[in-house]
Symmetry: C2
Subunit: 350 residues, 2 copies
């Protein structure tokens, strides 16, 4: 039954078993061109008996496609990206593509290498959360003529199709909401602003503060590379200030665990002593005590747009000279229990 050698059964084997030629087998299996019903039956039967699985690799080599899409994201430890990856995976499967997934760890060197790998695998298209998005890397991509859409973050001069969230507007809305509640000293904890998504969130905060005529206290703004500890460190610093903020805006879900831990450690009562809001919503925000207000963004929608755009590029290569498009995915401000008017008295946790 199982062949002793580990040779893969090929069209040739099927052709032999069905007493016909490889060309006919190919035609039958792909339902293309002409063939007699009788031969069709023979071929199908032979293929099944031999447990034949066509090699998409060889097929693609011939047809100049790989049925494969590369997805390059920073990592899979952040719900922000996994939600994205999950949605993308589903959509691609539905469209008949396989997902080639890689992580950059936000390391430009690793990113470069991985990009080369992906190109080497002849992906039909690429969905990419760029780390730096520098000219050179984009040049390479463009030179390979491979359809690519940049997601979540933008590349140099937006030379690729791009879909991002409304980072600035969302951040602005969150900050403005806190201001409306009466807060004047609002702490901002954000990630590395060399990524434009983080930068925009920071700008949104600044814009709201300035428009409200609030003094920009530099010491209220904590910007750093997001690691496990960043949220804690930044929160700790804010809490130890002479005049601590009355509200904190965490600009990324990855920052929240640290914020929560430190708030708990200092026994700060949320929201009475400190309001809290986060960019990006997580499941536990709902049943946290208190529930946590957030800027909610739809990962499904960005996935849908990105995949649609990419497939369009792939299927209409003529149009490829079209100028890159830049799209925004809007947000929703979810008001929950973690945001109230500022405390009147001096902080009690000191």
């Amino acid at each position: 039954m199982t062949p002793p050698s580990r040779k893969r059964t090929s069209v040739r084997d099927v052709a032999a078993a069905a007493h016909t030629s490889v060309a006919t087998v190919s035609r039958v299996l792909n339902n293309t061109g002409y063939f007699a019903e009788e031969t069709r039956v023979r071929v199908i039967k032979a293929a099944e008996e031999l447990n034949y699985h066509p090699s998409l690799r060889a097929k693609g080599l011939r047809q100049k496609r790989s049925y494969t899409i590369g997805l390059l994201i920073p990592n899979l430890l952040n719900a922000y990206y996994t939600a994205l990856a999950d949605a993308i995976s589903q959509l691609l499967t539905k469209a008949g593509y396989q997902l080639l997934l890689s992580s950059t760890r936000d390391d430009p060197v690793l990113e470069q290498a991985t990009l080369r790998q992906l190109i080497g695998q002849d992906v039909d298209g690429l969905l990419w959360v760029p780390t730096v998005g520098d000219t050179k890397t984009v040049d390479v991509l463009l030179s390979q003529n491979i359809p690519c859409v940049s997601i979540v973050r933008r590349v140099d001069r937006d030379r690729l199709d791009t879909i991002v969230f409304e980072d600035l507007a969302g951040s602005y809305a969150a900050t403005q909401y806190l201001i409306q509640l009466g807060h004047t000293r609002i702490g901002f904890i954000g990630g590395d602003i060399s990524y434009n998504s983080n930068n925009d969130r920071w700008l949104g905060y600044c814009k709201a503060m300035q428009e409200a005529g609030l003094a920009m206290d530099e010491s209220l703004v904590k910007i750093g590379t997001v690691r496990d500890t960043w949220g804690s460190i930044a929160t700790d610093e804010l809490l130890r200030m002479k005049e601590p903020p009355t509200a904190v805006f965490a600009a990324s879900n990855a920052i929240m665990p640290g914020v929560m831990k430190m708030l708990l450690q200092h026994q700060v009562a949320v929201p009475r002593e400190m309001s809290l809001i986060c960019f990006d919503d997580l499941d536990w925000f709902t049943f946290s005590n208190p529930s946590i207000s957030a800027i909610s963004i739809s990962h499904e929608r960005i996935a849908e747009s990105a995949v649609a755009l990419l497939l369009q590029r792939i299927e209409n290569p003529e149009e490829n000279r079209r100028r890159p498009v830049l799209m925004n995915i809007s947000f929703e401000l979810l008001l929950r229990k973690s945001t109230v008017a500022p405390r009147k008295s001096a902080p009690r946790w000191k």
Copy 2:
């Protein structure tokens, strides 16, 4: 600079530019066989100037490998699997493989189709969280002679290399701990026991209860398909019982959000009125109020073992007749604030 046609530059182009043959180019680029230093320089230069990226697909077709590993998991919305996928992704990258990721949605039909796709892509190996793991599917895999390790769940008669968590022992330990605290009525909320991981967790609970000589009250055991709502529904049912449990054991992290929501809704005080423990640890368990006790399992360790086993199978095909191995990854019982002795008085939430 950029060629007008979208033809991919091949070894032939490089050979022409370097005034040599394709064989030499191949030798230089792969650093195999003999070649003069002088020609090496010419080839490297030509390759760089042409921005040459070798086609791994063609290379693999020739060498009968694809440099690609398939990973088949239920989905990417559960931290349980994303942690796994992330670790696996990193390890494979380090080993020079690309990750082909697909989701089964725990749908056997989709799983079958995806498995065929993956085989069609000529993956060098497969890491698989089987949905049913029935004879037929395993037969197909075995017939293709493709190295495969089953993770998290087991397949029919363990005919594949398998690495699972100590589901039974972990569940037993958690239950036993609650019993030691004095609980006699312990609610169990688990997932579909047609998956052996869930089944083992259920068995672990039963074993601990029986050994302690506690009556098995069927109505305390809630087993259902894990959907968004399952945790809430089951918890609600437990809370509405005439004689509700004094502790709840959630057998999967995916159940916890629902449990938390319903506990909050009924205003049940944890741990005073209800103890709570979960199989699988999540980041927010630490700073939840109260923090939540859990069975912690190391996703990194299962990933490491699985990848090591798989690569070994791939690289030592001779050994392929070796009998499949079955490995267990141990757990840790993390005692936090959500588990205390049972309430003395009648429940107050009624």
